[in-house]
Structure formats: C-alpha cells, structure tokens
Subunit: 330 residues, 2 copies
Amino acid sequence: MARISDVAKHAGVSVATVSRVLGGQSGVSDAARERVLAAVKALDYHPDLAARRLRSGKTDTLGLVVADIRNPYFTEISRAIEDVAYANRMRVLLCNSDEDPEKERFYLDMLRDENVAGVILSPTLDLLSRFRPADFSFPVVLVDRCTPETEADAVVLDNIDAAQRLIRHLIDRDCRRITLFHGTASATGLQRLEGYRSALAAAGLTPFTQAIKSTTFAARKALLEHLRAHPLPDAVVASSGLILLGLVEALREAGLQCPRDILIAGFDDQPWTRIVTPDITVIAQPTADIGRSAIELLLARVAQPGQARRCIVMRGELIVRTSTCRVQNT
Amino acid sequence: MARISDVAKHAGVSVATVSRVLGGQSGVSDAARERVLAAVKALDYHPDLAARRLRSGKTDTLGLVVADIRNPYFTEISRAIEDVAYANRMRVLLCNSDEDPEKERFYLDMLRDENVAGVILSPTLDLLSRFRPADFSFPVVLVDRCTPETEADAVVLDNIDAAQRLIRHLIDRDCRRITLFHGTASATGLQRLEGYRSALAAAGLTPFTQAIKSTTFAARKALLEHLRAHPLPDAVVASSGLILLGLVEALREAGLQCPRDILIAGFDDQPWTRIVTPDITVIAQPTADIGRSAIELLLARVAQPGQARRCIVMRGELIVRTSTCRVQNT
DNA sequence: CTGTTAGCGCTTTCAC
DNA sequence: GTGAAAGCGCTAACAG
C-alpha cells in the first residue's frame, strides 16, 4: 500500500501539498496539482481513512439504527438513505436494535466511538420517552417515531390522522365492531391506536383493541384466539404491515371469507397486499421520501449544527381495495 | 471526552497498563486492573476507534456487500450476519451494489480504505468471472454466488440440483411446456437455468426460457408479453422470489386461474407465497443458515488466514403447495 | 508486573 | 504557493 509520503516523493512535492490537493483545497499551483494527481494514479494511492479520521476528527460515515431490518418498511427507508449517502460519497453503518433498548444502547455507543458524523434512528419507546439531542455527541434525526414533545429533528407519518382516515373508511362501510391489533413496542403503534380511538369515539362506537408484539407470528396467534373468545368483528385492522400479514394468515386458517364474512385493512403497502385474494386496503407510507428526507435533514444539520429543529410530517395515502368492499351476500 | 492518558492519571498507572487492561492482556496485577476499571467507569472513558485502528492496523468491522438490500433473501442473510457480529462485538458495514459493477467496485475500495477485517460479498457476474482472493487485501467470503472454478470461501445453494428437483416435480405433474423466467445478472440465475435445461433434457422436453432483469416489474411485463406471443405454457417458473411475485401479478392481470389453467412455482419461500390463492410451490433457501455460515467462515478465515478454501453448499427444500397440484377440471 | 517511548498515516498550523 | 514539523489517541516494543 502506497502512503502519502510515497505520493509526495513520486510527485516531487511535500506531503502537505499532496494533502491539500486531495482535500480539494485552493492554494496549489496547477502544475503541482497535476503532478500529484498523476502520482496518485500511478501508485494507486488510497488514503488511510483511520489516519485521516484520527487527525481531522471528522468522518464521512453515518449511522442508521433501525428496529428491524427484516421489516420491509425499514428496508425501503434504508435503501433510500443508502442511495443518497452513495451520491454524497458517504458510508452508512447499518445497525439493528431489534426493539431492544440494550442493543440500541450498544450501537449508539459504538457509533459515538466510531465518531460518526450523524445518526438516523428509529428509537425504542424506552429511549424516545427521555430522548434529548443534547445527550448525544453527534446530530440525530429520528425516523418513524417521534412524539410532539420530543425536541429533535424527525421525519414521521401523521399516524393519528392516517389511522383516523382508515377507521372512518371502515365506518363508512357500515362496520360497527372494529378490532385493532396494534404493536406496543413503538410510539408508532400507540399513535395509531390513538387515531383509532378518536375515530371510533367521534362515531359513538366502542373500541376493541388487542395489544401485541409487532410480529406476524404474534398477530396470527392473537387473531385466532380473539375469534375463539369473541363475537365475529365486522372488521380487523393492523397497525403495521407485519401484523397485517399475520391477520391474513389467521383469517385464512379460520376459514373466514373476506370481504363476505369480515373486512380487513392495515398499514404499509407491501407488494403482497396487491396480489392476495382479496387485495387489501392499506395506508401506504412514502418510504422512499421518508428515507431521503431523513438523510437530507441530517446532512443539513451536520452542515449547520445551530439551525432550528425541523420535524417533517408525511401524510399516509389511503388505498382502497377489495378487502373493504362490502358485497351483497350471494 | 476522556482520553487514555486521563484514565492512566486517574488510576495512578501508565497508559500502557490501561491499554493492557482494555486489551484483555495478561500481565497486569489485580490491584492495577481494578483501579483502571474503576477509572474507566468514573470517567466514562471510551477508546477512540480510529486511533486504535490506525495504530494496530486491525479492525473489528466487517463489510457486507449485497446486490439488493430490498430483496428479502439478502435481508434475511444480512440479519443473520448481523446477529453473529453483534454476539462477537463486531460492526458490519452494509453496502448495496445494486448489481452494478461500478458501485460494487466503489464499496470494495471503500472497505479496503476502512481496513475492514473481512468482507462477505454477493458478487456481480462481472466480478465473479475474474474473482481471485489474492486481488483483495482482506479475506472475502462469497455468498449466494459462486462458480466451481472460483477459488474462494463461499456459501451457496446447490442451484442446479434445486432447479432440477423443482422442474422434475412439474414434469411429474404432467407439465410438458414449462417456461422459465430467469435473471441474467447473477450466477445464481444462470445456474438455475442450467438445472432447468438438464431436467428438461433428461425428460426429452423442449426448453422455453425468458432471460430478464431480476425484478418484479420486469417479470410481470415479460410474462404478459409472453402470454400474448406464445401458446399457453403448462407451467411458469421463476428463478427468484422477486421474479415469482411478478409472475403472480401477471397471471392475475391476465385472468388466468391457477392451478386450473396453468401451474406456477419458483425460488424463495417468502411469507406471501403461503397466503396467496393458491399458495405457491417453492424451493426454500435456508437463509439464516447461509448468513450464519458465511460470517463463521469469514471469522475462521480471519483467525487462520492460511487454512484451505472451504465452500459450503446448501440444499434447497422443495415445498409443494397448491399452485402445482393439478385438479380435475370442474 | 510496569513505565517510557516511538510511531501508525494523515492534516494543519506556521514559517518561508 | 510550498514545506517542515507537530501532533490526533492509541498500541506495542523495549527496558527496567
């Protein structure tokens, strides 16, 4: 491996000049710059990132801490972030908190030790409840999860509004008994619960809710048990795409026909929701936009640490499909 | 931020002793060790990773370069790798080559500059064709893609065998005209094509293949056009989960009933393949095992650079479902 | 068992 | 416009 001193020697200049050229600084003659560039190419020189980082204290690495990389929602966000990072020649350290405050803590510590330029984070409920940007040595942008009280840059969906619209749609379709299966591990699930409650209250209806772990497996099990213990709801609603999948599995297993026997709807417009029978009404989230906005917010904050806090609220799109279309009983 | 010298001062020892304690080396008195540990805690000291890296030349960071993070197959592998890395207190730099040799090159260069301990890579066809471990300054383990000629550690599916079994299953179900939609960007797609060809040849049947980009969108479009231009096949087969989804979409759009009008099968046991109507016959890949094996192979190679090359070949599991169950025409 | 010291490769004053 | 030299924080000889 060639070092910067090798390049300097080869180009007949000092290491300082090489550093200036590589750093894109002005104050170097065209002749010297050209010789340096030629030497870099000739020696196939690549600066040692660790040395550069140590000396300059800066990094072009970002951290991304998501709750579960297998959740397509986070996958798509990660992808959008990665694209922007690549365009800016920055690296992304992707971490998986698994909704576990301890893992989350480990990764946040690690990112601090790595001296990352900034972090995009979908916080656990635990961390969010006492989140203060000042507790971190780097700028943080929250994604997916944020409360109105949190004083941090954030990109989130208007969960309450989206849930309300989804529920109102169901009420318009003559549903009276609507059971919500919602995750409890994240602020998102709780906000969607809140929207559900208020929409039902406005219509004078009684809420039926089932708090569960936000996984496909838990959702399937919960609905199966619910069907055994309670009268058949007019509709079931999932607070996330993972839960929605579990509900669909359970309905199938229970031999229930949708939309004849029961309606179903949920969050996240995952590809499979279009191809199952019936296709499923969902709130679609602009995942690519969310990811892109988050990293842009972060890069802006890195460039201007002092700027005022910004919170971007996205609107979910209600996509009405067959699963909520009442049919005449044949 | 506390430095190692602060810790040394606080504990009344030299920086060397602190370094020894932190590095878990022997040759430190219990008394000194305890004082150091207390000082570390008192000062909330965290070593600067860049400095450590620069000095020691070692890293506990691994690189993972996948073709597309949105593909659930790679997502699950990433997750498994991440879990093992976390257990070993190592970081993973996740990179997305997007099947683009240029991006792949960029990331591999970056990982070299980062001085990673090793890399897990699903190579583009371009790179695989001239892949030599010696070209890299770090150990590389290939996942998902490898040829018999490639002299590298690898974890792959027995693609030819899996494709053969899938096709033979279809032939057993009286299919004669079987159209394969396969990706061309990766070795995997081509190996599955090979298995398809040999299974058909063994049965004396004529192959019908459609080379496409390995995306849902391309697959949907290709099948729609295929249906327009050719007689209806007995079965269509997808060489990947992404393609399979596109085929299902197209069948739906074309108003074709499965398994009445046509059979369908493919690779990757994604969750949705169980809940669509009909549920779909697939070759399931042991993704968690693949990921885990890959990082274990890599860690073993890092520990023992000289050891002989190892290639782990996994067997796909044929899961027969309704989509390939011929029914009596009613 | 412990401390002193010399760098790892780079950026950045500070002179010239 | 350019170079010499001083470290960034840490680890690893090497002495003691």
